[in-house]
Symmetry: C2
DNA sequence: CTCGGATGTAAGCAGGCGCTGACTTGACGA
DNA sequence: TCGTCAAGTCAGCGCCTGCTTACATCCGAG
C-alpha cells in the first residue's frame, strides 16, 4: 500500500532488502499468484525491472523470501527455552504477533505455494525442519521409537498456529481476528499442551 | 486433470453441477487466482464460454461454490449428535476425509479469498455460521455471558481443522500428509477436547 | 577531470488471462 | 417437415502479466 520510507536509491543491498520486505507482505497476505511484481515494486518504492535484476524472476524473489523466513525461524528457535511452558508461551506469541516485531505473516508464507519446484521444496523443508525444532523443544527424543507420532503432534500444533493466523489475518473472522494475547493465551495454550505434553493422559 | 466422465452434453443443470464440482476442486487446491476458467472447463469437459453463460463471471462461479459449500456444511451439522464425543469424532472425520464421500477440500475453500467483495462476504459468513454451529453442538449456550470466549474456542478448533487440511493437502508435509484416521484420531481428539470441553480444567 | 562499472529508469514484447458476441447444433412441438 | 429456442462452439478482443532490452544517471578510482 504505502511506499517504503526514505528510500534514497543507489544502495543495492538496501533495495534488495526493501524488495524482500514488501514481497513477503504481499506473498503472505495475497498469495503468490495474486501478487504482481509491479505491486511489490511499488510497495518497495523501486522500479519493477530491479526485481529481475536482483532476483532473476518472481520465483527467485519468492525463494529469497522463503530462505529469509527459514533463517529467521531457525535463529528464533536456536535460543532454546528451558521450561515446557516457555515453549507454549513462545508458540502463542508467534500467533499473536511475531516475536521479533515483524509481522506474524511470516508464518502465512509457509502456506503459500508458488508452483515453482525449487521454492516449494524450500517451503516443505522449512516446514518439516520447524516441526523437528518444535518437537525437540517440547522435550522429545529424536530417537524415540514413536518418532512419527511425535512429529505428527508437533505438526498438528503448527497446523493450529497456521490455521489461526490465516483466519485472523486473511479471512478476518470475528471474534478471533480482533482477539489479543490475553484472550488467546489460555485456549491456545490448552490446545498446544494437549498436543505436545509427553503423556497425553487418560481421557 | 481428467475429464468429467460420461458427459453427454445438452443438459444444463448437469453442466452447471459439473462446473461447480470441477471449480471447487481447483479453487480449493490451487487458490482463486491461480485457477483459470479454461482449466475448470477442461476438467468439467465443457466449453469455456459456458462458465460465463451460467455464472456470469469467474467470481460468480466462485460464489456458487461458496454457497454450495455453505449449504453442505449446514446440512451436515443439522443432524445434531447427542454425545460430546460424537462432535469430536465428526470433526476428526471432517479432517481425514469429508463425511459425504466428497473431498475434504470443501474446508480448504473457506480459506480462499477471491478479492470479490460479495463472494468473500459469503465466505466469512459461512465461517462464522459454522463457528456457531460447532459451539452449539459442543453444548454451549448462545446466551452464555462468556459467549465471545466460547466462539473464540470454537474458531480455534476450526482453525486447527483448516490448518491441518492445508498442511496435508496443499503443502504435503510428512508425516502428517500420509497419516490416516487411526493416527490422527487420538491427537486431534485431544486438541479438540482441550478447546471445546466446557471447563478447561485446572492446569 | 574523466572514464567505467554499478545502479536505476522507461518502453515495450510475447503470452495468457477473463470475457464477449456471432455462430452452429440438437431436441421437440405444431 | 419445419420453426424455435435452449445448449454448446468458436474466434478473437482488450487487458494485464512477467520479463527484456536499451538507455540515463550516479559515483568512486585513476
Amino acid at each position: 500500500m504505502s511506499d517504503e520510507l526514505m528510500r534514497s536509491g543507489r544502495d543495492a543491498t538496501a533495495t534488495r532488502r526493501a524488495l524482500v520486505r514488501a514481497a513477503r507482505r504481499r506473498f503472505a497476505t495475497d498469495g503468490y499468484r495474486a501478487t504482481t511484481v509491479r505491486q511489490i515494486a511499488a510497495d518497495a518504492g523501486v522500479n519493477v525491472a530491479l526485481i529481475n535484476r536482483y532476483f532473476v524472476s518472481k520465483d527467485g524473489l519468492f525463494e529469497a523470501c522463503m530462505l529469509r523466513t527459514s533463517d529467521e525461524l531457525d535463529s528464533q528457535s536456536s535460543s532454546r527455552p528451558v521450561h515446557f511452558d516457555d515453549v507454549i508461551e513462545r508458540l502463542v506469541a508467534h500467533v499473536v504477533n511475531s516475536p521479533d516485531g515483524d509481522d506474524p505473516l511470516q508464518l502465512l508464507l509457509l502456506l503459500r505455494s508458488s508452483g515453482d519446484e525449487n521454492a516449494d521444496r524450500i517451503r516443505r523443508r522449512t516446514l518439516e525442519h520447524f516441526t523437528e525444532k518444535l518437537a525437540a523443544a517440547a522435550g522429545w527424543d529424536r530417537d524415540d521409537p514413536a518418532t512419527d507420532g511425535v512429529l505428527l503432534r508437533a505438526q498438528l500444533a503448527i497446523a493450529t498456529m497456521l490455521g489461526t493466523v490465516m483466519l485472523r489475518a486473511s479471512a478476518g473472522v470475528e471474534p478471533l481476528a480482533s482477539a489479543g494475547h490475553s484472550e488467546l493465551s489460555a485456549p491456545l495454550g490448552d490446545a498446544f499442551r494437549a498436543l505436545l505434553v509427553r503423556t497425553p493422559g487418560p481421557s
